[in-house]
């Protein structure tokens, strides 16, 4: 194990040098590279470059649809970015993140699908015409608003807790959302909701642009949404908000003495993280066109946290890589169907032994684990 670790250290140093050289480039050159990379991302569904064809998931017979995989990757990157705001930047361990994903998905389902119980009730109450529903474009702000509200409802009373206690409460929240969806009339319970709309628009031959055959438009949509949120999160990160989050993460009491209203900024982190989770829920539900409570199990929450931790919490590129790996690898290696969970588990353990800070750690590596140990000691002393 030690030789492995040494080798990894060497690689790490090499990568650090690359990173330094990258940061030393002028800003416009970095921007050009980024733009080229984004163009490549948009081109990905048609990927046909001879050497790179092997990464397509439909390369082998048993593989899954390439565009669907890409779409799923984009949605999960969005989620990992949202969770990164909560876990990586503000340092709050959230084990119930799937709750926000579910709230977002159910928002578009309940307000968009014309036979949903909520829409039926609205139509009956205000005597609207049969088949009336909220336009798909409007369901996104509704979903973001509802998830942010649910984030505040969860955060308001619980953000006074720290560390493990907060993790337990959020774990409960994720389950509450699922169980409410399972047992309520207004969500149609275990039956789920079908006929969830997607974005409007038709091709020249009359088929829907956002249909079920060609998934590439869905991927482009998700990618665009993702890029918008990368912009938003980076903007917040490089402002006093980002500094306040980091300060709270590193030493909450010292931050308070320095005039940082920790509670306010933690609540914002929760709300913004929730908003991102909700948006990805909207994309997921719209593409699936059908959701039921089994889509939102605790397993997903754990995988979301794994994405952030494996990738490198606190760093957008890192968590994006973590999300892509944990989504893409199982799809690519569908052939080994029975061994997939085992392989993923082993891979996670190896990554955590070799790179406890994640694959691409942030410049300021996350110290939550370390801090929590210190906190525990302080608690004992106090």
């Amino acid at each position: 194990m030690d030789t492995l670790r040494d080798a990894d250290e060497k690689r790490m140093n090499a990568r650090k040098r690359i990173g330094d050289r990258w940061r030393a480039l002028p800003k416009w050159q970095r921007r050009m590279v980024f733009v080229a990379f984004v163009i490549f991302l948009y081109y990905l569904p048609y990927l046909g470059i001879p050497g790179l064809r092997v990464i397509r998931t439909d390369y082998s017979e048993s593989g899954s649809d390439w565009s669907s995989t890409l779409f799923l990757c984009a949605v999960y990157v969005l989620i990992a970015m949202g969770l990164n705001v909560v876990v990586g930047l503000a340092g709050l361990l959230d084990l119930g993140y799937v709750g926000f994903f579910a709230v977002g998905a159910y928002s578009v389902a309940l307000f968009g699908a014309s036979d949903s119980p909520v829409l039926k009730w609205i139509r009956d109450t205000w005597h609207l015409s049969e088949g009336w529903s909220v336009a798909w474009g409007l369901t996104i702000p509704i979903a973001i608003a509802l998830t942010m509200i649910s984030g505040v409802i969860l955060g308001g009373p619980t953000l006074r807790l720290r560390g493990d206690y907060l993790a337990i409460v959020t774990l409960g929240f994720g389950e509450i959302v699922r169980i409410v969806a399972l047992n309520s009339q207004f969500t149609d319970g275990p039956q789920g909701i079908s006929g969830i709309p997607g974005p409007p628009g038709e091709n020249a031959d009359g088929t829907k642009i956002f249909g079920v055959i060609d998934i590439a438009p869905w991927y482009w949509l998700a990618l665009t949404v993702m890029l918008v949120f990368v912009f938003i999160v980076r903007r917040l990160e490089n402002s006093r908000v980002g500094r306040a989050w980091l300060a709270v993460r590193e030493d909450e009491d010292a931050a308070a003495v320095m005039g940082v209203n920790g509670f306010k900024f933690k609540l914002w982190a929760f709300a913004i993280g929730a908003g991102l989770g909700g948006t990805s829920g909207v994309l997921f539900a719209s593409k699936q066109a059908y959701i039921d409570p089994t889509n939102f199990t605790l397993n997903l929450s754990v995988i979301f946290v794994a994405m952030v931790v494996v990738g490198g919490s606190g760093n957008i590129a890192g968590v994006a890589l973590g999300a892509i790996l944990l989504t893409y690898l199982p799809e690519r290696f569908r052939g080994f169907a029975d061994y997939r969970p085992l392989a993923v588990g082993v891979a996670l353990v190896v990554v955590m032994i070799l790179r406890p800070q994640g694959l691409i750690p942030s410049r300021r590596r996350a110290r939550e684990l370390h801090d929590r140990q210190e906190e525990a000691q302080v608690d004992v002393v106090a």
Binding site: P26, I232, R235, L236, S239, R240, V241, R243, A244, L246, A247, E250, D251, D253, A254, A255, A256, V257, M258, G259, V260, N261, G262, F265, W268, I272, R363, R364, R365, R367
Partner: protein, 326 residues
């Protein structure tokens, strides 16, 4: 927006003379020595049966350096904690700037104008030195979370607050010029203005404490003495009226103590009021205007350094005396 080269950080660890600094960026408003800034009035603090502070009384005037000394366990840090809102006094009150302290949250007390350092250094270890100080300067800023995101609130900037044209690259210079003119015509977002002002102030404070050459290093990697000074810079970043230093010389060698003494004096010269908890008698005697001595939670003496050092009770408390001599 200011580049590090332009600011010429000075020799590492040396305190630059005040004349070399942009004093107006970091100075406090001129103090009024007749005004009582902090009034600790009959403060008693009990933890169950233990009396940590017993009717402690003292006042602090603007622009003065007050030393708070006493043997180990005398209640110095407890007194500090009452003043910074960590504990609520059982009886009595603490008034700062004519406002009650007790019952306010730590960040609200900071906004009132009390900043402190910690006995055991508590920086934000994974943030750079500059970012640490900028967390402090953020305390006085008004940009909200949506404000930082949308940046729609435009304000007019004074010429010296505008982005500077400082690139060596011709194309970049043109771009910077365009930005500068644009900012003059359309105004700048309050977020950017505060960000520039904060960075400028933070950088100047780092120069003031003599560690500007390592502004971009993460705090954890700084040497011990630099960390102590960084804590002082961070506290000054919040634009306090009163700066409380909790044993700033702990772990320092004589040369470093000498520098700290100089630093504390120039902090006062900038117009800040300082409350100093310290063990090292030489340092306390050399820098303070007045000294309050605590023993077992009681104030046993108060006065100028010379008076206090002659006071038999103080000598007894520090050196101990035999029963019959007392």
């Amino acid at each position: 927006m200011s580049s590090p080269e332009e600011l010429s950080p000075g020799k590492s660890g040396e305190l630059p003379p005040l004349e070399e600094l942009e004093v107006e960026v970091i100075a406090a408003p001129p103090p009024n020595p007749n005004r009582v800034l902090l009034d600790v009035n009959n403060v008693t603090l009990r933890f169950g049966g233990v009396v940590a502070l017993n009717e402690v009384n003292f006042q602090l005037h603007e622009g003065e350096i007050l030393g708070l000394i006493g043997p180990n366990g005398a209640g110095k840090t407890t007194c500090f904690n009452v003043m910074t809102g960590v504990f609520r006094p059982t009886a009595g009150s603490v008034t700062f700037d004519d406002k009650q302290i007790s019952g306010r949250k730590p960040h609200q007390i900071n906004r009132l104008g009390i900043a402190r350092t910690f006995q055991n250094i508590r920086l934000f270890p994974e943030m750079t030195a500059l970012e640490n100080v900028m967390v402090g300067t953020d305390a006085r800023h008004h940009t909200s979370v949506p404000g930082a995101l949308f940046r729609l609130y435009r304000v007019r900037a004074k010429p010296d607050e505008l982005p500077r044209v400082d690139s060596n690259n011709g194309l970049m210079r043109v771009w910077q010029q365009i930005r500068r003119v644009g900012a003059q015509i359309f105004g700048v977002s309050r977020h950017s203005l505060e960000e520039w002002a904060g960075e400028r102030r933070a950088m100047e404070l780092l120069r003031f404490v003599g560690i500007a050459d390592r502004a971009d290093e993460i705090a954890r990697n700084l040497p011990y003495g630099y960390q102590r000074r960084l804590e002082i810079a961070r506290a000054l970043g919040t634009e306090p009226k009163l700066l409380c230093l909790d044993e700033p010389a702990a772990g320092f060698n004589p040369a470093e103590k000498e520098q700290l003494l100089k630093l504390i004096k120039s902090i006062r010269d900038l117009g800040y009021t300082v409350l100093l908890i310290e063990h090292d008698m030489r340092l306390v005697m050399g820098v303070t205007d007045r000294i309050v001595v605590l023993e077992f939670g009681r104030k046993i003496a108060e006065g100028s350094p010379a008076e206090v050092s002659r006071n038999p009770k103080v000598i007894a408390a520090y050196l101990g005396v035999t029963e019959d001599a007392a």
